[in-house]
Amino acid sequence: MTMDHFWIIVGAALLVYICRASGFVLNLKAASPVWERFLHFVPIAIFSVLVVSAMTKQVEMLDFKLVALAFAGFIIWRTRQFGLAVIAGIGVLWVLTAIGGSAG
């Protein structure tokens, strides 16, 4: 490893840390109700982006995956059991893939 590469990696790590720490260090306590509501919606928006971004990279067998997501969504909605919902979702995908594979 050249020293140049070493320092670029260390510098990049420092820059990433500054980005990560910025929101923790900024002390925005004097928040208005609108700001409070804004922050309430941010995680919901970010989760939606994470789901959509991940799904756009997984277009293969999209119909099966959407069914699995819907089933997992139903399970978490009814039971509030996180682990159960994830296992149910992946289980549905495996079953659908197996049925689809044997039918094809």
């Binding site: 070493f6 990049a12 929101g23 922050l39 309430h40 919901i44 970010i46 756009t56 699995a68 997992a72």
Partner: protein, 231 residues
């Protein structure tokens, strides 16, 4: 002390499915970095210090292309700008001391944010740290395995283990939706994210959606308040 340890353990356990989901990404990163000409020491050093999949993959390619320093800096900032909002929302829900405010962001990732914010009612620093340590350990373990064995270690594709990440995020999303307005914001966000994807906006999508969708949510709630049928 015991409560702190049990919170840490709870945080650690909450990311186990995401550790599995992150494994193919770590293996893919090791393969991309090797193809870009990085040596094993550089590949592992990036996982230990930068610890961000998108940044590491981008940096590996920029290093192999001998990119200018300014290009590297701008790329890193654009890829990590969304952490500003993560920190702002996490500190709103989780009480952190001054020291913890500097330590918590060290190993913060999308997945850690997801589980911490989903557990915000019972979340604390120990929980956050447990989740961070779990994912950091698995990311570095799978980077090392990727360096040693290449991508042929586990057939993630046929087991559909890459689907665990969107599935986990979706389940966490549904568990957060309490009101009709929350649903509306989630749908807004998904539509905007889809449009950003079509427009090829890449990592800027997170920051755009994280600003625009909540603003739409606030606008709709204001409309509901003004509506004569509003209760």
């Amino acid at each position: 002390m015991k409560t702190r340890f049990s919170s840490f353990r709870r945080g650690f356990a909450s990311v186990l499915s995401l550790c599995v989901a992150g494994a193919p990404v770590a293996l893919a990163y090791a393969a991309v970095a090797r193809n870009a000409g990085l040596n094993p020491l550089q590949i592992q050093l990036m996982s230990l210090t930068i610890y961000s999949a998108a940044t590491q993959i981008a940096l590996a390619q920029l290093l192999s292309a001998d990119a200018a320093v300014w290009t590297v800096i701008i790329t890193i900032v654009v890829l990590n700008l969304h952490y500003l909002l993560y920190g702002l929302t996490l500190t709103k829900y989780i009480k952190l001391s001054r020291f913890e405010r500097f330590l918590a962001p060290l190993l913060l990732t999308d997945s850690v944010y997801a589980v911490a914010i989903a557990e915000r009612e019972h979340g604390n620093f120990a929980f956050l740290l447990g989740a961070e340590v779990g994912l950091f350990f698995s990311w570095n373990l799978f980077t090392a395995l990727g360096i040693l064995f290449g991508n042929g270690l586990i057939d993630f594709q046929s087991a559909h283990l890459d689907f665990v990440a969107p599935l986990t995020f979706f389940v966490l999303l549904i568990s957060m939706l309490r009101t009709r307005l929350d649903f509306t914001v989630a749908i807004f966000a998904a539509v905007i994210a889809g449009l950003c994807h079509i427009a090829g906006l890449g990592s800027m999508t997170v920051i755009i959606v994280a600003i625009v969708a909540p603003m739409l949510g606030i606008w709709v709630s204001e409309l509901q308040k003004r509506s004569p049928t509003a209760s």
